[in-house]
C-alpha cells in the first residue's frame, strides 16, 4: 500500500465471481490417480450388503491445473493481512511471520501421531511444556492448559474449573456476571455451561460501574468475566477493587484475554487479581486467523485452580525428559488429543523470536499506534470516550447520520481505498461504533495513509453521500443482498442448478 494513493479510491477489481468448482472440468477428471490395489481386492457389495452406498458421491472433477487456478482465483477475491492494513478492532490482525508457518510444517511436528509412544515425541512435549511456562510467566498465572481450540472454548474450560472448585467446596453457584461491553462469546459460553447471565452496565467513562457490580455480587455468583483492557480499548484503573469485590463473595475473576496484545510485559492478569485467563494465540501470538480459524485458546489459572485443568497435561520430569500427567481432580477433556498442536508450534516460534524485550515492544508500539490514529481521527469522527487508549479505540460515526451515511457505509467505503474495514457496531454501548485496532506491525506511512482515507471518506459523506452509501465500488462484488440470503437459504450446490 503506498500512502500517496490512499486518499484516492483504487481502480475497480479485475477479478469477478468465479464459477463453482462443481461446474469446472470434465467428468472423470481428477488430480491424482486412483491408488493401485496390490492385495486381493475386496467385494464391497458383499462386505457392506445393505450398508453399501447407492451411488458414488458427486464431487468436483478437475485436473491439477484447474484446482490450482480455481483456488488462486478465489484467493484473489480475498483480503488478508498480506493484502493491506486490517484495522479490525478486537481481532488483532497483525502480520503473521512466515517462519512460524515453516515451523508447523516440519515433518517432526506435522507428521506426529497423537498416540505415538512418549519417547518418540519428546520434542513436541518439550515444546508444549515450554510454551505453557512462557504463557504462565506472561499471564502471571501458573497453571496452563493448551487443550482449548479457541478463545470461546477457553472461556468454557475456565468456567468449568470454577465450577469444580465451588463444587469441591460444597458451594455450587448459578450466576455469572458480565459487563455490557462483553464479547458475544462470553454470554454464549455462560449459557452453554449451564449458568445464568447477569449483565452490569458500564459507567459514563466506559469502565466497570463498581457500585452496580457490587449490587449484583452475592454468594450465588460463580464468576465475573471481564476483558481488560476492555472492548473500548480502556484499561480499567479500578481493576484491583473489582477483583477484590469479586473475591469477597467467594466468586472467581475471569479475564477474557482477547486484548492481551496491549499489556505484554506491562501488567499481568494474575497480578491484577484474575483467577483465570484465556489467550487467543491467533491474536496476540500471531498464529494466523486462517479465514476464521484454526485458533488456539490456552487457559492460564491460579495455583489453586491448577489441579482442575483438563488432562492430560504435558509435564517436565527428571533428567530433561517430558511426559504427560493425568489429574484425578481434572474437569476432564474438552477436546481430543493435545489441542491444536500445529497452532501451538507457531505461537512458540513467535515467543522465541521476540523474547521478553520484543514482546514488550509489541505492546508499546500497538498502544502508541492506536493513540496516534485516535488523535488524528477524533477531529473528523466523534470519540465518545476521549482518554488515552490502549491497543484500540472506538469512534462513533453519528455525525454522518444526518447525511444518511451510516457506519456500515464508511466501513464499506474503506475497501475502495484499499483498507480492510474496522469492526463496526460493537461494542453496542457506542452509537454507530467504529472500532479500530492498528496492531504494532503497521508502518507510519500505512497509518498516515489510513488517516487520509478516513478524512477523504468523511469529506465524501458530506459532499457526495451517495458514493459512500453505495460503496464498495472496486471489490470483486458489490454490496450483497443479505436479506435474500437469509430468507431463501441457498447453502449448498446441487446437481440440478
Amino acid at each position: 500500500m503506498s500512502s500517496e494513493m490512499s486518499n484516492h479510491p483504487r481502480p475497480p477489481c479485475s477479478v469477478g465471481p468465479q464459477k463453482s468448482i462443481f461446474g469446472l472440468g470434465t467428468p472423470g477428471s481428477s488430480c491424482v490417480a486412483v491408488p493401485e490395489i496390490d492385495v486381493p481386492d475386496i467385494d464391497l457389495d458383499a462386505l457392506l450388503g445393505e450398508s453399501r452406498r447407492e451411488g458414488p458421491p458427486v464431487l468436483p472433477h478437475v485436473t491439477e491445473v484447474e484446482v490450482m487456478r480455481h483456488y488462486s482465483h478465489l484467493a484473489q477475491m480475498n483480503f488478508g493481512v498480506d493484502s493491506g492494513f486490517y484495522p479490525l478492532g478486537s481481532c488483532t490482525m497483525k502480520y503473521n511471520p512466515r517462519i512460524n508457518e515453516d515451523a508447523a510444517r516440519l515433518e517432526g511436528f506435522s507428521g506426529l501421531h497423537p498416540y505415538q509412544p512418549e519417547k518418540t515425541v519428546q520434542g513436541a512435549l518439550r515444546l508444549m511444556v515450554e510454551l505453557s511456562e512462557a504463557l504462565a510467566e506472561i499471564s502471571g498465572l501458573p497453571g496452563v492448559t493448551l487443550q482449548p481450540a479457541a478463545g470461546a472454548h477457553g472461556e468454557l474450560t475456565a468456567l468449568m474449573c470454577f465450577r469444580a472448585a465451588h463444587e469441591a467446596a460444597g458451594d455450587p453457584r448459578k450466576k455469572v456476571i458480565l459487563p455490557d461491553t462483553a464479547h458475544g462469546t462470553n454470554p454464549a459460553t455462560v449459557a452453554m455451561g449451564g449458568w445464568d447471565v447477569v449483565t452490569v452496565p458500564s459507567n459514563d467513562q466506559g469502565l466497570v460501574d463498581l457500585d452496580a457490580l457490587k449490587a449484583v455480587l452475592d454468594t450465588d455468583v460463580a464468576a465475573f468475566m471481564l476483558t481488560n483492557p476492555n472492548t473500548l480499548g480502556l484499561f480499567d484503573p479500578q481493576i484491583q477493587e473489582i477483583t477484590e469485590a469479586v473475591h469477597a463473595v467467594g466468586a472467581f475473576a475471569y479475564c477474557d484475554g482477547a486484548n492481551l496484545n496491549a499489556v505484554l510485559g506491562k501488567s499481568r492478569p494474575g497480578d491484577q487479581g484474575f483467577d483465570a485467563l484465556h489467550i487467543n494465540l491467533h491474536k496476540t501470538f500471531s498464529t494466523p486467523h486462517g479465514g476464521g480459524g484454526p485458533g488456539a485458546g490456552p487457559v492460564c489459572v491460579s495455583g489453586d485452580l491448577a489441579h482442575y485443568l483438563p488432562s492430560p497435561l504435558p509435564v517436565r520430569v527428571a533428567d530433561g525428559e517430558f511426559s504427560t500427567l493425568q489429574l484425578g481432580t481434572s474437569v476432564g477433556r474438552v477436546r481430543s488429543f493435545f489441542g491444536n498442536f500445529g497452532v501451538l508450534v507457531k505461537a512458540y516460534a513467535y515467543i522465541k523470536a521476540l523474547g521478553a524485550e520484543g514482546l514488550e515492544e509489541v505492546s508499546e508500539q500497538a498502544v502508541l499506534s492506536a493513540n496516534y490514529l485516535k488523535e488524528q481521527l477524533k477531529e473528523v469522527f466523534d470519540l465518545p470516550y476521549d482518554r488515552t487508549c490502549m491497543h484500540e479505540f472506538v469512534l462513533s460515526g453519528t455525525r454522518f447520520k444526518a447525511e444518511g451515511v451510516r457506519t456500515l457505509d464508511i466501513a464499506k467505503r474503506l475497501l475502495d481505498y484499499g483498507f480492510h474495514s474496522p469492526t463496526v457496531y460493537f461494542p453496542s454501548i457506542v452509537d454507530e461504533a467504529i472500532m479500530i485496532e492498528p496492531t504494532e506491525t503497521e508502518s507510519v506511512s500505512t497509518l498516515d495513509g489510513f488517516v487520509e482515507a478516513m478524512r477523504a471518506i468523511a469529506d465524501e459523506a458530506v459532499r457526495d453521500p451517495d458514493i459512500v452509501r453505495s460503496a464498495p465500488h472496486t471489490t470483486p462484488v458489490r454490496r450483497l443482498d443479505e436479506v435474500r440470503a437469509a430468507r431463501d437459504p441457498h447453502l449448498r450446490w446441487s446437481p440440478t442448478q
Binding site: V39, E64, G80, R163, G184, V334, E361, K412
Partner: protein, 464 residues
C-alpha cells in the same frame, strides 16, 4: 527478531504527535500496584537463523509417525495428501484473512466454504452442513446439545463403542447439568440393537453412535436409527469421511445429525490437531444448527456472491440465546478438506476407500495367520481393526518400533485383554505389510524363547 516496522526516530515523532512525553505515559491507566516492574522472565529473542536451527532441533527430537511404517489410527489417519492441497493453504489471502464478515472482501473464503459445505452434504447425504467445528469430539458434543434443543429433552444415550476421548469430552460437558448421559455397552465390539432399545425412552433426546466405531467395526445404523426414532429421539452418527464414499450415507440410513473428524481429508496428523469437525443436519433443524453458515445470494448488480447467513443463531448476535459459543472455527482446515476432495474427486475418494479396506483386510488375515493374534470380534469393518495378541502387546509394539514399524495403538478394552488397534491407509504397500508380518513372527518367537529361558532360569533358581 522484531516484526515492528517503526524506527526509533519515528517512534519519537509519533509520541510527539499524541502529546506524550514517553511510552510510559500511555500506560498510566494501569495502577502502579499491578504494573510488572521487571522484564518478563523469558529468554532473549532470537535471530531468524538461530530460531530456524532451534525449531529444527526440536522437531528432530521427535520421530514422526510418517517416518515409520505406520499402522496407527484411532481417530487420526495417515492418508496421502496431494501436493496441491498445501500449496492452496499457503496462499496468504486465505490464511492471513479474518472470519469473512466483510463479504465484499472475502469472496474467496466464502465460496471455498460454501463448496466445502456442499461436499460434506454430498458425502453425508444430509441437506445442510456448517462451516466446521474444532474437531470431531466437540462436534459430537454440539450434536448432543442441538438434539436437546430440537427435542426439548435432556438425556443422551451414547454408544460405548465411540472413541473413548469423545465420550470423555461429552461427559465433561454434561457436568453443566444441561444434559445427562448414559453409556450403552458394546462388549461384542459393536452395539446390540436390543440392548440399545432397552436404554431408550421418551426422555431421550438422542442416541449417539459412531460408524465405523472406535474398533473399526460398522454399526447397524439403520436399525439404530429406527430404535431412536421409535421413542422420538434423534440419531447422531459420527462417520469417517473417507468411508462415506462407499458406505450408505448416514442420511439414507436415518441419521438426523452427522458429525465427524475431518482430518483424513487433506490435513496432516499434526499430533492430533488442528483437524476439523464436520457437522451436517436436516434442513428442518437448520435454526438449531451451531456454527457459521455460508449462503449464496447476489450483489447489488445481480452477480452471484456468497455471504455468512442465518447469523441470528450465533453468539455475536444472539449472545446467551445463541445455539453455541463457537466463534473461531477451523476454516483453513475446511479449506484443506475442500481442496482435497476436489483434488481426488469421486473416483479418487472411492478408490482410496476401497484400497484402504482391501489392505486392512489383507493385513488382518495375515496377522491372524501367524497364530499369534486372535480376533476378539468378527463383524464387518472398514480400514481399522482390533486384534488380541497372544503375549505382551506393549513389548511387541516396542520391539516393532525399533524395527521402524509403528504397530498401531495398544488399547485396554474394559476388563478384557489388551487389544491392538491397526489402521491401514492407501500409503501402505503389500511389501511393507509382508515385512511387518515377518517381523511379528520373528519378534514373537524371540520373545517366547526369552520367556522360556527366563522360566527355566527361575525354575533352576528355585530348585537351587
Amino acid at each position: 527478531m522484531r516484526y515492528v516496522p517503526v524506527s526509533g526516530e519515528q517512534r519519537e515523532a509519533m509520541l510527539r504527535a499524541v502529546g506524550a512525553k514517553s511510552i510510559e505515559q500511555l500506560f498510566q491507566d494501569i495502577p502502579s500496584a499491578v504494573r510488572l516492574k521487571r522484564p518478563l522472565d523469558l529468554e532473549k529473542g532470537m535471530s531468524e537463523i538461530d530460531l530456524a536451527r532451534s525449531l529444527r532441533e526440536l522437531a528432530e527430537a521427535n520421530k514422526p509417525a510418517t517416518g515409520f511404517m505406520n499402522f496407527a489410527g484411532a481417530g487420526v489417519y495417515d492418508h496421502y495428501i496431494p501436493s496441491v492441497v498445501d500449496h492452496i493453504l499457503r496462499k496468504p489471502e486465505f490464511f492471513t484473512a479474518y472470519t469473512p464478515y466483510q463479504s465484499e472482501a472475502s469472496q474467496g473464503t466464502l465460496q471455498a466454504i460454501w463448496e466445502f459445505q456442499s461436499m460434506i452434504c454430498e458425502l453425508t447425504g444430509m441437506e445442510v452442513a456448517n462451516a466446521s467445528m474444532y474437531d470431531g469430539a466437540t462436534a459430537f458434543v454440539e450434536a448432543a446439545l442441538m438434539a436437546c434443543r430440537c427435542t426439548k429433552r435432556s438425556r443422551i444415550v451414547v454408544a460405548g463403542s465411540v472413541h473413548p476421548e469423545w465420550a470423555e469430552v461429552l461427559y465433561t460437558y454434561s457436568r453443566s447439568g444441561l444434559f445427562s448421559m448414559d453409556v450403552v455397552g458394546a462388549e461384542g465390539g459393536k452395539l446390540d440393537v436390543d440392548q440399545v432399545r432397552e436404554q431408550l425412552d421418551a426422555g431421550v433426546a438422542a442416541l449417539l453412535v459412531a460408524d465405523p466405531n472406535f474398533f473399526g467395526v460398522f454399526e447397524d445404523v439403520c436399525a439404530l436409527g429406527k430404535a431412536a426414532h421409535g421413542v422420538g429421539a434423534m440419531l447422531v452418527c459420527a462417520s469417517n469421511p473417507i468411508l462415506l464414499s462407499v458406505t450408505k450415507t448416514p442420511g439414507d440410513a436415518g441419521a438426523d445429525i452427522v458429525v465427524g473428524e475431518g482430518q483424513p481429508l487433506g490435513n496432516p496428523m499434526s499430533f492430533g490437531g488442528p483437524g476439523l469437525g464436520f457437522f451436517a443436519c436436516r434442513e428442518k433443524h437448520l435454526r438449531q444448527l451451531p456454527g457459521r453458515l455460508v449462503g449464496k445470494t447476489v450483489d447489488a448488480e445481480g452477480k452471484t456472491a456468497y455471504t455468512l447467513t442465518l447469523s441470528t443463531r450465533e453468539q455475536h448476535i444472539r449472545r446467551e440465546r445463541a445455539t453455541s459459543n463457537i466463534c473461531s472455527n477451523h476454516a483453513l482446515n475446511a479449506l484443506a478438506a475442500g481442496a482435497y476432495l476436489s483434488a481426488v474427486g469421486s473416483a479418487g475418494l472411492t478408490g482410496i476407500a476401497r484400497a484402504c479396506i482391501a489392505k486392512a483386510h489383507y493385513l488382518r488375515s495375515r496377522l491372524i495367520g501367524t497364530k499369534r493374534f486372535s480376533a476378539p470380534f468378527d463383524d464387518a469393518f472398514g480400514y481399522e481393526f482390533a486384534l488380541a495378541y497372544d503375549g505382551d502387546a506393549e513389548e511387541l509394539h516396542s520391539r516393532l518400533l525399533d524395527k521402524g514399524i509403528l504397530a498401531g495403538v495398544v488399547i485396554e478394552q474394559w476388563q478384557g485383554p489388551e487389544l491392538m488397534l491397526f489402521a491401514v491407509t492407501e500409503k501402505r504397500t503389500k511389501e511393507e505389510m509382508d515385512m511387518f508380518v515377518a517381523e511379528v513372527i520373528e519378534i514373537a518367537e524371540a520373545m517366547e524363547k526369552a520367556e522360556q529361558t527366563e522360566d527355566t532360569e527361575t525354575t533352576e533358581a528355585v530348585e537351587q
